[in-house]
Structures are given as structure tokens and as C-alpha cells.
Symmetry: none
Subunit: 373 residues, 2 copies
Amino acid sequence: MLEAKLAEAGMLKRLLDSIKELVTDANFECTEEGINLQAMDNSHVALVAVHLQAAGFKRFRCDRPMPLGVNLGSLTKVLKCAKDDDECTLKAADEADVLNLVYEAKNSDRIAEYDMKLMDIDSDTLGIPDTEYEAEVSMPSAEFARIVRDLSALGESVRIEVSKEGVRFASEGESANGSILLKKDGEVGRVKTAKEKKADKARANGEEPEEDDEEEEENEDGEEKPKKVKKEKVKKEKGDEDVEMEDEEKDEEEFKANSDAEDEKSEPSDDEESGKKRKKKTNGSSKPAKKAKTTKGKGKGKKDEDEKTVFDFSMNSHVSLTFSLKYLVNFAKSTSMTNKVELRLSNDVPLLVDYDFGQGYVRYYLAPKIGDE
Amino acid sequence: MLEAKLAEAGMLKRLLDSIKELVTDANFECTEEGINLQAMDNSHVALVAVHLQAAGFKRFRCDRPMPLGVNLGSLTKVLKCAKDDDECTLKAADEADVLNLVYEAKNSDRIAEYDMKLMDIDSDTLGIPDTEYEAEVSMPSAEFARIVRDLSALGESVRIEVSKEGVRFASEGESANGSILLKKDGEVGRVKTAKEKKADKARANGEEPEEDDEEEEENEDGEEKPKKVKKEKVKKEKGDEDVEMEDEEKDEEEFKANSDAEDEKSEPSDDEESGKKRKKKTNGSSKPAKKAKTTKGKGKGKKDEDEKTVFDFSMNSHVSLTFSLKYLVNFAKSTSMTNKVELRLSNDVPLLVDYDFGQGYVRYYLAPKIGDE
DNA sequence: ATGCCCGTAT
DNA sequence: ATACGGGCAT
């Protein structure tokens, strides 16, 4: 059975608001590591991947992996019945056909309980590329939202170009063309390999590269995390199969539904080093980076306070890709989740738009337009 | 070619927001003196006149007069892509069919550039009355906005009445009637003639007034009969170049939105004031505040700092006119441009609603309703 | 300048 | 019913 207690229902509410327009139904895959959701948008153009790590909950227990088929519209309605600062507990029995939600006001003078029907959803877990991108851009999520919204008023699509000059967003429309260039003060770095990132993170924590994972747990500290979590982490160190990991494997490809993705767990521990080059089994590799930021929330892991939310980018080669603004504008709804967003791009590969909030992440993948479609 | 750099894009954004609902397309007439725009509203009832003086720009260059046909909707879209405090540079080559806009963030780490298509617009430059109004009202723009908005909830039109008692805005609706009376502390002065204003301005600049005062006195008495008085003056000061006068003559016809109203027969209507003490030549006294703004031309002042934005008015004769609130509410959008607004009225002549911000002005002209249409 | 609320459109 | 845009208030 599942029993997960969230300190603030507001996070879930914002999360649902972020993705419900893109996806109507999806499976919340619950495991001892946390909750994952993956789905193609209704028109099968974009892919959404959400992860809520167990450590991000005030309490988290999931005896065995279980998929909860949820209609996001229904869940949104039910969540609207919670106040943002209510504690929210999600419960589901094994094989249950309902999800039980309990909202408790901070002062405990009010307890609301809801049961939401679940549905069976084809779990076409998709393989998600874990590419090592040629360019990475980090910027305030509000600025990204502003840019895509601005340009969407002019045209249908935007060309995102990363060069040593900076990052350019250009769009052409009937009555006007627009181009925004973001320049960086310092020098432009190259995208680090997974290993390098790991090392960086370790350094940042003043620790030895190896056991960095340890601290991650600490980061969570705000809430105490169940020991289980810790164990997991430990495992990771060796086994390193992160939940995310599972998805990896297929990187290169766009998103193809490969129902098997999940199985491969125990992979060789981190071979980040080995795989850095391309993705091979780099599974573990990409993650570190993410975690880095993710976890960094040492404090209470709320937003990314320590992140100054400044613009920065790195690249290994010039990248220029065109995307549908309609989707990017939609992705930007996740601005409510955190003040930073990361874009990762490689030519001819889906763009990754990553919103990493302390307790997990929301990632969007969008294939570039080819030619002038 | 044109190259004009504005210190704050926000001014232009607010300006467009002010008028875009009234006018969809218009020529930005660029000359070395600045930029002018004149247009009837879409239903040809109101006239909008905008002036941006060259001195109001951080840099202004216009080699030769050139009209830039702009779709205000497109320009609004493009301007929305600028942050209020961005520096905004407008560039257009001679005969160009596009207007180039460059937005530079204050910290310069972001540069956005847009090219907006221009269009050919029949330049039916309209003659604008430069009447010497019988009554002038100066008040906080927010207060004017509030009044017309409030009254628009009750009825379709408002009667604006200026008498020694004060300025009254009255509206009648099906379910309720409303009336707002604005009273002045001091005494009510009469509207100064162009010459007097000129003199005031001169004085303000520490200069010696010409010989103007002379005639002013005489005029005074004539309070009752404005028109005639003016004429008299004209004659008297023949030599004097009263631009206003001339226009006055023709003006009358300009807006015939409501065709008839034009001929100014403005009779002396109420002469309640006749006997009053009115301060003979005291004109200067009460008015000070007023003149300040009137003369605005000079300084490049931004807002009207010196103006306390308080209510004040002057009149030569009783005035009572009725206007469509729909338009006034629309005019009030310019409240964002400056904290002061001036209303100038004469019986049977279009009302002038003047928003004078340091770098230029936005003026609206609206013909009064006749009878109870 | 940002956020909230209301109204309109899809 | 939901989403987007505009206006008002803080």
C-alpha cells in the first residue's frame, strides 16, 4: 500500500496545474523511491516526466511498486479542496481502485478526506533519453516564461540558438520578427560530463566525490526523511539505480514507448565515468547533475534558494533548433514550481526543459521542428 | 532616417495601451521636432492627438519628415516584449517598410530586437482646434478616471458643468443618478488668454512680462461674454500672433462627430459671475498652478513634479456640456501617463482632455452630445 | 511591477 | 469548464 504525506498540498496543486493541460490521464507510478509520472501530451508531441522523491515527503511508504491510474482533471478538482498549506496525505491500498486524500490544516482543527476513483491506464512507460546534451542553459524560470510568451505573440515557433555569443531566441511572425539574445558575463564553459558534475557537486559539499550521495540525503533534512530513503541512497551508491535511471537506456531515440524500460534496475553501479561520452549506460550519470541542483536545496529544500537564479550556459558545440512556442508556453506553467529552469539541447534531439524543485522535478521533452513545418 | 532612443520603454507601452483601443492604425509623423500622431477613433467620434517631443528622447535624430504607418495592435504586441525599464530604440530607414525596435536591459545582459512591418496609411491630418476655452479644469488624472468610471456604471453620458460653485459631473441612469461636485478652496479665476499664459510662463522663467498685462485687464470685465471679448482682444492686439485665435475660427468645424455642435454660438449663458468680485486683474493669482502645466513645452521634465496634482479650475463663463462616458472612460486610460489631466471646455465645442507628461502629450477631443441623444 | 479578480472567448 | 486577456489593487 501507499501512504505518502506531503507537508504542503500547495506543491501538488501547482504541479497539477502545470501539467493538466498537457496530459489528461496518467499513471502515478509509486515505488519505495517515490512517485513517478510519465506521459505523452494529448497530441503525442511532447513528453512530460514528473518525479517526486520519497525524501521530499514528510512521510513516505510504498510497500511495493504500484501504478495509480489518475485522471488529472479529477485530481485537480479534488486538490482544489485543499488549502495550500494543508498537509496532504495520499493513501492507496494494493490493487485499490480509489486514491484516498486527507487534508489536515496546520493547526489540525480541520480534516478533510476525499476518495478519488482510479482508472486503468495503459502503462506505456516511455523511454526517456538521457543524452548528454551539447548545450545547457540555466535561467530564471520567469524569464524563460516571459520570453516564450512574448515570442508566442509574434509567431508559432522559436529558434533557440546557443553559441559562444550567448543564447538567442528568435521568432518570425506576420507582422513582426523578434530576437532575444541573452549574454553571459563570464566565459562560456563547455558542458560538463556527468562525472565532472559529480565531482563538482562533491567539491561543493566539501566532500569527497565518492560519497556525495550521502549528503543529498542530508539536504532533505528539512523534513526528516525516513530511513528507508537513506537506504535507497546507499544502494544507489553501489547499484546506483535511481528511479530516473530506469527510464534512461533509450536515450538516443526520441520517445518510444518501451514498456520494458523500467525493468532494468540493477545496472552496474555508476558508470558515469564509463559512459560519459554518449549515453550508453550512462544512466546514472545524467542524474548526478540533476541531483546536484535538486538536492542542493540543502536548506529546507523549498525552492532553490541557494541558486541565484541567474542566467548561465555552457556548450560543447553550436546548437540551433526550432520548437513550437505553443508547447514551450505550456511548459512554462511550471514556473510556479521553482524559480529556475534548465534547458538542455543537442541538435536533432528533443529539447529538455527541466524544472527542478526541491522535492522532485518536472521535465518536458519536445522534439524540434524539422525544416519549416 | 529615424533613430530615436527612449530611456524607458514603459512610456511607449503605456502610451500605446492608452490609445490602441480607440485607434487601430495611424501614422507616426516623424520630424526633427519629434513624433506626432493624429487620428479619429474608429467610429469617428473622438480625435486623438499625440506628441512626443524630440527633447523627450535620450537621443533623437530624424533627417527628414517621414510618416511611419503603424498598426497599433502590432506595435502593442512588439512593445509588450519590452520590460518597462528597458531602453528602447526606434529605427527606420527612409522609405523603409519596417520599424526596428531594440530593447536593451539596463544591465545590458539582454538585448531584444524586433522588426515590425509598416503599412501605408492615408494621412488625413486633421485640423485641431486651438480654441481658447471658456473653462479649464485641472485635476488628478486618477480622480478623473474614477469619476467617469463610477458614473459609467450608472448611465451612458455625463454632464460636465463648470460654474463658480465648482465643477460638477452628473449622470442619470435608470436605477440611479449620480453627481460629483469638485469645489475649489480658493477663488475661481477666469481662463487666461494665450497672451496671459505666455506672460505667466515668462515670469516663471524669471523674465519680464511683455506688455501683455495691459489688455488683460480689459478682458476681465468682459468675463460674461467670452467670445466677443476674445475677438475684441484680437483686434486690439492685432499684432499679436494668437495662434489660437486663428484656429479657433476654423476649428469649430473639425469635429462634427455630432455635426451641428460646431458653431460656437456660445453665449454668455450664466453671468452669475458678472457681479462677483472676481479678481479683476488678479488673474495671475489664482492661476499659477495652471499655467505651470500649460506651458509645459519647455522643460523636459518627466512627470509634472512641480504640479501638486490638485484640483483647480478657472472659467470665463458658465459651461455645461454632455459627453458620452464610454469615450471618457477610454480617454482615462492615459491616467498611466501622468498624474494630472486637464479638461478644457467651451459650450458647443469639443471637449479637450489633455494628458501632458514631460516628454509630450496625449490629447483627446470629444464633441458634446446635443439634446438628449 | 506583481498578483488577484472579473469578464470574455474557446 | 477551462484558459487567456484586461483591469484594479497592493
